[in-house]
């Protein structure tokens, strides 16, 4: 029973494309353990992704799966959810896919508060195209397109999603897989838009270029740099510099979009019937 989540895999497509030491496997594992724990009906789960390393996940999952265009997973998922609200629609995206090219869709799906669960696999880099900086590459770090160091500021995507109107926002790192799993569970159980940022790691492009060591060293760095949201409240901005704030960052209970639309249908039909 411990490996019940294996039922949700398409093992015939293994080995997967991810590099040894990639953090994405841990996040996918957390997602599948959660789905197994919640005993979700495979036929009613739909996993949608865009383009990038993280977005290759749906191909390995035995659900209704959709691998779309770069940055557009959320609007494809919006169409699925609104047309068939009984489906559990989960979006798998990366930091480039979800925060750069797809950033506007993320904002507006959160604003609508449509009942999607979005898991952002943040590896701080464009891995699939071999190491260009993303909006979530920390300032000063090196990338193939930032050979002198990244002069752009990385942004706090959780704050963005919260400000946009989501009902649930949380962040964990791949160094805390159980915590990550718990947050994904709460995200799936949230009515309305739910967002979990999984801070991962890319040893191949980000780690090697920034001399961060191998996967083990990178995991250690993640652990050392992590501060819970409760502890962070007591720290100064100086002390928080370079830290990853984890925890459940925001929860609300605002009306979900598809529910509102169902009410709208009732009203429109009443008006038409009169």
């Amino acid at each position: 029973m411990a490996n019940k989540f294996e039922e949700y895999l398409r093992p015939q497509f293994m080995p997967h494309i991810w590099c040894p030491g990639c953090g994405h496997g841990i996040t996918l594992n957390a997602l599948l353990r959660t789905i197994a724990k919640l005993e979700l009906d495979k036929d009613k789960v739909c996993v949608v992704s865009g383009i990038g390393c993280a977005s290759r996940a749906p191909g390995y999952l035995d659900f209704n799966t959709l691998h779309t265009t770069h940055g557009r997973a959320i609007p494809f998922a919006t169409g699925i959810k609104l047309a068939k609200p009984e489906l559990e629609v989960i979006v798998v995206t990366g930091d480039g896919d979800g925060a750069a090219i797809g950033g506007n869709h993320l904002i507006h799906a959160a604003r609508r508060n449509i009942g999607l669960t979005v898991v952002m696999f943040n590896n701080s880099i464009y891995g699939m195209t071999s190491g260009q900086y993303s909006p979530m590459t920390p300032s000063g770090k090196s990338a193939t397109t930032a050979p002198y160091g990244n002069i752009e500021r990385d942004f706090d995507v959780c704050k963005l999603v919260q400000a946009s109107g989501a009902n649930y926002v949380a962040r964990a790192t791949v160094a805390q897989p159980r915590q990550l799993s718990t947050y994904i569970e709460r995200a799936i159980n949230t009515k309305g838009f739910a967002f979990v940022e999984a801070q991962g790691m890319c040893p191949t492009y980000y780690g090697r270029r920034n001399k961060l060591g191998g996967p083990v060293e990178m995991l250690d760095v993640l652990k050392k740099n992590t501060v819970t949201v409760q502890a962070a409240a007591k720290l100064s901005p100086e002390e928080l510099k370079g830290k990853i704030i984890t925890g459940e960052l925001y929860q609300a209970n605002d009306p979900e979009y598809c529910d509102l639309y169902d009410n709208l249908i009732k009203q429109a039909q009443e008006v038409a019937g009169k």
Binding site: D43, N64, T68, G79, A83, K84, I107, L264, Q267, A268
Partner: protein
């Protein structure tokens, strides 16, 4: 033939008529973004769709609208979006995705003068080639082009039916003039409208291969959420739906997609002809230009000129065989169009030197008048 309701004559705007027809064809989902001259389609559907239990959503941009339409169609809902020139450009990547993953949908493009923001929102016919080649890579395309409000009704229903029959996006090209024109339309009863639904699988879920095409080249399509768990991807895929880079399978897929549409060309080609039987000079025109041409050809006949009109309502796939036949029977083909010469290129290709082919372009944001075409017909 009396239906279950009273079919009724109505005075309708072109865009409104498109909505009416779409609902009768089974439309259940619309996603769009405001852009003139197509906005009335979104406005009408925002009001009408919920009444029939359908869903309308105004997305954050054109790209998202196209994406949402594909998503909803994957659940089995007949889906549509509507836009205009610049918005049509933005939709191209996801339109290619729909063609490649074989997701039925209808994309309305009420054309306006381009390039860029152009001349908002004067009419033009500049998207004929964009409709064919707008997205990258080889892909099948069906594009239909009505020339009156009542043709919009028939052609919209056909667009949905072809999309479902061939599992492919269908582009409905419209002219601003007709989209905003009000004309008399006989709206039939629901049971008088022939509606085609996509073929769904009859095999057990375990045996379902989502891209294993039947003999007509069209694979049965399962709705998401019905037990057939399948994978749709914009990567080259084999019959299982999963990615492949094996050259023989890559080659097989793209050739099947093209053949799927080409092999049904006769069934999906709609045209209108006037005085073509004994014509010595033919006008080939689409949309609003075909209406001016109709009048011009009539006037020419009164003056003793053996003129005729051939109006393709299906412009992609292009009715090359029919043009070739015409080219063998006439001395000259005139192709008036509101662009710098797009349709004329296809006509020249199809005529293959069998007759003279002359283009006529008007690109000042005004429709081509009957007198302009008549003047071309009078030139020897």
């Amino acid at each position: 033939m009396a239906g279950s309701c009273d079919s009724r004559a109505r005075l309708m705007q072109g865009n409104e008529c498109c909505c009416e027809a779409a609902i009768l064809a089974g439309l259940k989902f619309f996603a769009g973004y405001p852009i003139t001259p197509s906005s009335e389609i979104a406005e009408v559907l925002a009001e009408r769709l919920p009444r029939v239990g359908g869903k309308f959503i105004q997305m954050e941009d054109e790209i998202a609208s196209m994406a949402a339409v594909v998503g909803s169609s994957l659940t089995g809902a007949k889906s549509m979006t509507a836009t205009s020139g610049p918005g049509f450009s933005l939709k191209q990547e996801n339109l290619g995705f729909a063609a490649f993953t074989e997701v039925p949908c209808v994309v309305v493009n009420v054309q306006r003068t381009g390039p860029s923001t152009g001349l908002p929102t004067s009419p033009a016919q500049g998207d004929i080639m964009q409709a064919r080649w707008g997205t990258h890579g080889d892909h099948p395309v069906v594009a239909l082009y009505p020339s009156s409000v009542s043709e919009i009704f028939d052609i919209t229903v056909k667009a949905f039916n072809i999309a479902e029959m061939l599992r492919t996006p269908v582009i409905l090209l419209m002219d601003e003039v007709i989209a905003h024109m009000r004309e008399r339309v006989i709206v039939p009863c629901a049971d008088e409208v022939e509606v085609v639904d996509r073929v769904r699988p009859t095999v057990a879920p375990a045996d379902y291969l989502p891209y294993d095409a039947a003999s007509d080249g069209v694979p049965p399509m399962a709705d998401f959420g019905t037990g057939y768990r399948w994978h749709a991807t914009g990567l080259y895929h084999d019959v299982t739906g999963f990615p492949t880079s094996i050259p023989s399978k890559v080659d097989f897929l793209i050739r099947r997609l093209i053949a799927k549409v080409e092999s049904r060309k006769k069934e999906i080609t709609f045209t209108k002809s006037q005085y073509m039987d004994d014509a010595r000079v033919a006008v080939v025109a689409c949309g609003i230009t075909a209406r001016s041409a109709r009048s011009a050809v009539r006037s020419a006949r009164e003056k003793g000129i053996a003129a005729g009109l051939f109006q393709p309502q299906t412009i992609w796939p292009f009715p090359s065989e029919m043009i070739a036949d015409i080219a063998g029977r006439v001395d000259r083909i005139i192709v008036p169009e509101m662009n710098m010469g797009q349709l004329v290129l296809e006509v020249e290709r199809a005529a293959a030197g069998k007759c003279e082919v002359v283009g006529y372009s008007r690109v000042d944001g005004e429709p081509i008048t009957p007198d302009e075409i008549l003047a071309r017909l009078e030139e020897v």
